[in-house]
């Protein structure tokens, strides 16, 4: 068995006296959706922040392996994680560029490649064909994604004027335009209605199956998690309490205890 795409070993994150993540280890592979669930304050978003370079972890090794190269994320700056290790995330509170158009949002995501194609703007300033083809390619790619998320007709809207559900999908498309090997989604279904939520499921499955990358997902919405994840990791107070296929996890007593509380266990067992 080769190295998994992402391997997290003994990750701990402490903020002063508070241990947000405690000795967490898990693997995530490509062409799979790995969900991280857990009650509020379990440390899910902290795991993401460590993975994407927002905080340097207190302890732990985070390794990404693709194309025979290994990247040690805990030593990299955030923008280099996105650019080189190609782990790209979305945010719990959507972070689009609200006053830029939908199309521009997707083109900004292809900045690194366009910068190289324009010789750091020199070729672009001179209007050389090399840059123009690169820009046309970037727009074509953006168009492809707009088509996939159904926003082609709204390409010139300001991103901030889109309805909430469209903003969520646009943020995912924007992350995908950077050509990641792993997409980290922080509660993508939050605030979506059931129909939009079903659409999101389809989008994530198509990202897994067609783009063949790994997806790491934090989610509260159990209908999303149970339906599309291939693997579920459950956190409680920063510790991993379960790790396995959705059905396994669902019937794990520790998970039920974490979600429903100690005193409800008897009741659940009685009902079962």
């Amino acid at each position: 068995m080769t190295q998994p795409l992402l391997s997290v070993e003994h990750l701990s994150m402490r903020f002063g006296g508070l241990t947000a993540v405690d000795d967490l280890s898990f693997n995530a592979v490509d062409r799979e959706i790995t969900a991280i669930i857990g009650p509020n304050g379990a440390g899910k978003t902290t795991v993401f922040n460590c993975l994407t370079g927002f905080y340097p972890p207190t302890v732990g090794r985070l390794t990404v392996s693709h194309e025979t190269t290994r990247y040690r994320l805990e030593r990299m700056e955030g923008f280099r994680i996105a650019r080189e290790a190609r782990i790209v995330r979305t945010f719990q509170n959507i972070r689009l560029f609200p006053q830029m158009s939908v199309l521009e949002n997707l083109v900004v995501a292809q900045h690194t490649r366009l910068m190289r194609a324009s010789f750091f703007s020199v070729a672009g300033l001179l209007g050389l064909p090399r840059y123009r083809t690169a820009e046309a390619e970037a727009v074509a790619k953006a168009k492809l994604w707009l088509d996939r998320i159904g926003l082609l007709s709204r390409a010139d809207w300001d991103a901030g004027n889109l309805p909430y559900g469209d903003q969520r999908r646009l943020e995912i498309a924007r992350a995908m335009c950077t050509e990641p090997v792993m997409l980290c989604l922080d509660e993508p279904a939050a605030g979506l209605n059931p129909r939009e939520s079903a659409g999101l499921n389809e989008l994530l499955i198509s990202i897994r199956d067609e783009d063949q990358i790994g997806v790491l997902l934090i989610e509260h919405d159990m209908s999303v998690v149970m339906e599309i994840s291939d693997k579920v990791i459950v956190l409680e107070y920063g510790r991993k309490i379960a790790d396995g296929e959705p059905d396994e996890v669902r019937s794990d007593p520790a998970v039920i205890r974490a979600y429903l509380g100690e005193e409800n266990i008897a009741e659940v067992e009685l009902n079962a």
Partner: protein
């Protein structure tokens, strides 16, 4: 009947309060003035003007309330009466006449076009902005190139127009310098969203680079121009490094300090910069080596000798105007172009959300430093032109108020808008000169103008933004 009396009472009370506030504000500005007498300053009073002003404000407020209540005839008549008063009564001074006529006219206009508070609120909320943009964009798309060509043609023809005298051309050069400064600062503030209160430092660096290089090494304007621009850009990067982590208010304070630092260094480093005495005798730019002096130095030829035309001292001013115009157009072309390149979009993305930028693999350090460097570069260019125009520079020209004016140009123009910044520069630099006839009240009128712009267009004169890339034509069908 009782409610109507109540209504009148409330109206009068409201008007009286407004008049009282106006009275308090006007007391130091209009009621008191200082004059030089033998043995020092004396404070004089202008009670009649003050009383007239307060009375006008009272009437104005009364009229506005009547307009809001739907009564339009009485305010129109009252306004006309006030205008007539302004015209026919021998008022004690000119300002009062102007105030009467203007105040009356405002009341009449407001009652003819009922421009209620609700509408004001709507424009403040920016709800109408997309519609304005939607209305203006097809128009600009269609006629934009023509309007731009017309403006450039006017600018080129400007020195030869009958009303353009020496003073006006010189003023136009100054306006162009501020247009360049505004566009340069616009990169930093409008596009990259980094509030810079010390922009004058780069202006000073540009001016002093040219002044020192020309006076010490006898280099020409054209040789110094790129050096001035590069030195300013280098300083921009130097300033950029320590402030990379700062945003908003903190960034503003550090840049403010930086601006002051440069000025204080210029004052105190006497051996190098000649300190507060400044540098004089800065040469004017030449046209391919042809100078614009009456008697050129030995071995060189001057413009009028070469073309065999009589010497006119205004030629030099006209030429400098064209130099400034050329550089401003170059600046504009450069910025319009770079806005559509990845680096320009990265600046705007940084303004919108730095964290999202980082998560997409953009290096915020490079993005910020490039914005600082390019913004500073245009400041340096403008500084060199300024030094050439003045022939004399001293640290006095580069005080904080200059930074504030440049920032005001950018904010009033509409952050990120090239045309808006140009219009604002004309208003802010040109109008105070025209207002000179108001004498003491010049700055008062200037302030009133700024307030008016901010009330009318809270996000600047031209605040809508055209995307750098489009998939669909902006014909209003697709989009919104």
């Amino acid at each position: 009947m009782a409610t109507q009396r109540q209504d009148w009472f409330a109206t009068l009370k409201e008007s009286a309060i407004t008049a009282a506030v106006a009275g308090v504000l006007m007391l130091p500005m209009i009621g008191l003035y200082t004059s030089t007498r033998a043995g020092g300053l004396a404070v004089g009073t202008r009670w009649i003007e003050l009383a007239a002003g307060v009375f006008l404000v009272f009437l104005g407020r009364l009229a506005l309330i009547r307009i809001q209540n739907g009564d339009r005839l009485a305010p129109i008549l009252g306004g006309l009466l006030v205008i007539a008063t302004g015209f026919y009564l021998p008022l004690p001074n000119g300002l009062l006449t102007v105030c009467c006529i203007a105040g009356g006219a405002i009341i009449v206009l407001r009652s003819v076009f009922v421009w209620g508070n609700s509408q004001l609120q709507a424009s403040a909320n920016q709800n109408d902005n997309p519609t304005i943009a939607a209305r203006v964009q097809p128009f600009l798309k269609k006629y934009g190139p023509w309007i731009g060509a017309a403006v450039i043609a006017f600018a080129i023809a400007f020195p030869w127009l009958p009303f353009a005298d020496r003073r006006l051309i010189d003023l136009a050069t100054l306006v162009l310098i501020y247009v360049m400064l505004g566009w340069g600062l616009n990169i930093v503030v409008g596009l990259a969203g980094l509030l810079d209160l010390g922009y004058v430092a780069f202006y000073a660096i540009g001016a002093y680079s040219f002044a020192l290089l020309s006076s010490n090494y006898d280099l020409s304007f054209w040789a110094c121009l790129p050096v001035a621009a590069m030195l300013a850009a280098f300083l921009g990067i130097l300033l950029g490094f320590p402030v990379l982590r700062l945003r908003g208010d903190y960034l503003a304070i550090v840049t403010l300090g930086f601006g002051e630092m440069i000025r204080i260094i210029l004052i105190n480093w006497v051996e190098f910069t000649k300190g507060p005495d400044g540098i004089s005798g800065i040469p004017k730019p030449t046209l391919f080596g042809l100078s614009f002096s009456r008697r050129p130095s030995e071995g060189t030829e001057s413009f009028h000798q070469f073309f065999d035309i009589p010497y006119a001292s205004v030629d030099r001013i006209i030429f400098l105007f064209y130099v400034a115009l050329g550089l401003a157009l170059l600046t504009n072309a450069f910025i319009l172009r770079i806005r559509k390149l990845p680096i320009g979009r990265a600046w705007e993305a940084l303004r919108e959300d730095e964290i999202a930028c980082r998560s997409l693999g953009l290096n915020p350090t490079n993005v910020k430093l490039s914005a600082f460097a390019l913004g500073a570069m245009f400041g340096g260019l403008a500084g060199a032109v300024f030094a050439a125009r003045q022939s004399f520079i001293s640290p006095e020209s580069f005080t904080f108020i200059e930074s504030a004016i440049i920032l005001a140009v950018v904010v009033l123009g509409g952050m990120g808008s090239q045309v808006g910044v140009a219009i604002a520069a004309i208003l802010l630099i040109g109008l105070p000169e025209w207002f000179r006839e108001l004498q003491d009240y010049r700055m008062l009128a200037f302030g009133a103008l700024m307030v008016a712009i901010m009330v009318w267009r809270p996000k600047g004169i031209l605040s809508f933004r055209e995307p750098t890339l489009r998939l669909h034509e902006p014909d209003g069908k697709v989009g919104k």
